[in-house]
């Protein structure tokens, strides 16, 4: 039996991702919202959207907290209440769960969910410091740990335990840049070679600059409705049929294993169970490639390959655009960019385009089931969603 939809997505919008000089977070969000509104003409956003959940990681980039009401009002939503959701890099994945709960509760019929981050006003060392605040302060940050550093610790373990190679990690970057080159909204629309990655500057060994996602400005949003309402508004809607979220110890050193993200496994299991699907049913996925090693671990945690086989999985070409389970067709965080708060819903934007046949040159043929995997911090939070075409 097909799983009952939890909520439906009737429209999506995404700003151009990149270094958006002279543009404020609220303006980026309005850009994404406008695109979403234009896609669904039968909707009167100001009147029909009754609440909004907006992900944003940090107020430090623009000296601006309380940003959800600002972003929502710039999108023309007054007096509908807007609530900021913060779970580091999983902020808008978590915001989407809030939206689903709002619909499922019966309190709201139409909800706006999204995220935004304007990161490039500050020089890179300051951005790095702000990002590092999503790691534990008294033990991790205090001991000189950075975000690339935390994922590098996992990479070193993965190399040691399974023989994963730096070249295999580099292949994740090559694949995602190849996809990103086809995405007009992507930050870095150009291909890179294994050699480019291998010869790039070391950030935190074994991770090099091309193993890391980009510091990007951007916003994304979705319009959610209760499933019965979707087809009255548009022909292009998709259903959310599974959602899962879990957490693990905040500090990396407290985890039993450093080669897997337990929270992601648990979130995936919850979402698969709700959707009544198995990993082999997934046609297309967007996974949280904040660092190349994170994508390799994601393959394993989502059950797309066996533990330890993630390196070989990317090598086999299975997750390429022309492979049997295309992953990060948008370019991922690696090439599309990673405006932290916007990432979770930006993944859903790509799945929506894929499942409604609007992904243009990135289109995966006959895609019916899509999965999004969104991590917060070093995996203390993980959010997984499963979508089905209508």
């Amino acid at each position: 039996m097909r799983a009952k939809p939890l909520a439906s997505i009737v429209s999506v919008g995404i700003s151009k991702f990149g270094r958006r000089e002279g543009v404020y977070a609220r303006e980026l969000f309005a850009e994404a919202a406008l695109e979403a509104f234009q896609r669904v003409e039968k909707l009167d956003p100001g009147k029909d959207i009754k609440t909004a959940f907006i992900g944003q990681m940090s107020e430090s980039y623009e000296h601006q907290s309380h940003n959800a009401p600002i972003a929502a009002s710039w999108a023309g939503l007054l007096p509908a209440p807007a609530i900021r959701v913060e779970n580091a890099c999983a902020s808008s994945g978590a915001a989407l769960r809030c939206g689903i709960m709002a619909i499922k509760s019966g309190m709201f019929d139409i909800v706006l969910v999204g995220g935004v981050e304007k990161m490039t006003n500050l020089p890179t060392p300051e951005v790095t410091s702000i990002l590092a605040t999503a790691a534990d302060y008294p033990f991790e940050q205090w001991n000189g740990m950075t975000f690339p550093g935390l994922f590098a610790l996992m990479a070193t373990s993965h190399i040691h335990e399974y023989g994963t190679t730096e070249e295999q990690m580099a292949q994740v970057a090559v694949k995602n840049h190849k996809n990103g080159a086809l995405n007009p909204k992507a930050h870095m629309q150009r291909e890179v070679t294994i050699d480019d990655v291998m010869k790039s500057r070391v950030v935190s060994w074994p991770l090099k600059i091309y193993d890391c996602s980009l510091i990007t400005d951007g916003a994304s949003c979705l319009i959610l409705t209760k499933p019965k309402l979707a087809k009255k508004l548009t022909d292009n809607y998709v259903h959310i049929i599974g959602t899962g979220q879990a957490q693990d110890t905040f500090c990396l050193h407290e985890r039993e294993s450093l080669t897997t993200i337990k929270a992601a496994k648990a979130a995936a299991q919850e979402a698969y169970k709700m959707a009544d699907l198995k990993p082999k049913d997934i046609d297309v996925a967007e996974v949280h490639d904040c660092f190349t090693i994170a994508e390799i671990i994601a393959y394993e945690d989502l059950g797309l390959c066996r533990p330890g086989q993630g390196g070989k999985f990317v090598e086999s070409g299975t997750p390429s655009l022309t492979g049997s389970i295309p992953i990060n067709t948008s370019g991922g965080l690696k090439s599309k960019g990673h405006p932290v708060g916007a990432t979770g819903t930006a993944q859903i934007v790509e799945l929506y385009l894929q499942l409604t046949g609007q992904a243009d040159r990135r289109q995966v043929e006959d895609a019916e089931i899509g999965l999004a995997h969104n991590l917060g911090g070093s995996g203390a939070t993980a959010v997984v969603h499963i979508l089905r075409s209508s």
Binding site: P125, E126, T128, S129, A132, D136, P138, F139, E140, Q141, W142, N143, G144, M145, T146, P148, G149, A152, L153, M154, A155, T156, S157, H160, R201, V202, V203, S204, W205, P206, L207, T249, C251, L252, H253, E254, L258
Partner: protein, 134 residues
């Protein structure tokens, strides 16, 4: 009678100032915890006590940081890792070595402490670190 020291992070670093590496142990299930906390992360018991650890550990994983936040920039490149103490509890730490290329998972390391920093703003914690065994 003096009150037992509270199982707080501040207290952990106070002990570091006395050159002691302390973990919190659950009285009920014996689970050792760093960071310290009042509720056992394994069995939820709130009966915890401080336990002093030895100076020996092994390297579980590591990285060499080349791009660091401003406070650590002067040290680059430097190694950070996760160390497993002989008592079984793990801890993140800077690994001081002049030979970064000799770092290896499974190598033995020895605990040491730096003097209390002179910083005027919070936090004023002394630091622990690990180094190669002599």
């Amino acid at each position: 009678m003096t009150q037992p020291a509270p199982p707080t992070i501040e207290q952990f670093y106070r002990y570091c100032g006395e050159k002691k590496l302390m973990a919190v142990r659950c009285v009920r299930c014996r689970h050792l915890m760093i960071p310290p906390r009042e509720i056992c992360s394994k069995c939820r018991s709130s009966r915890v006590e401080w336990a002093q650890l030895g100076h020996k550990g092994t390297l579980v994983t590591y990285t060499v940081v080349h791009v660091a936040p401003p406070a650590f920039k002067h040290m680059t490149p430097y190694a950070v890792g996760i160390v497993e103490m002989s008592e079984g509890v793990k801890i993140p730490s800077i690994i001081r070595t002049s030979r970064l290329e000799t770092l290896k998972i499974g190598m033995e390391l020895e605990l040491d402490f730096s003097p209390k920093p002179q910083e005027s703003s919070w936090p004023h914690w002394p630091r622990y670190f690990f180094k190669e065994t002599e």
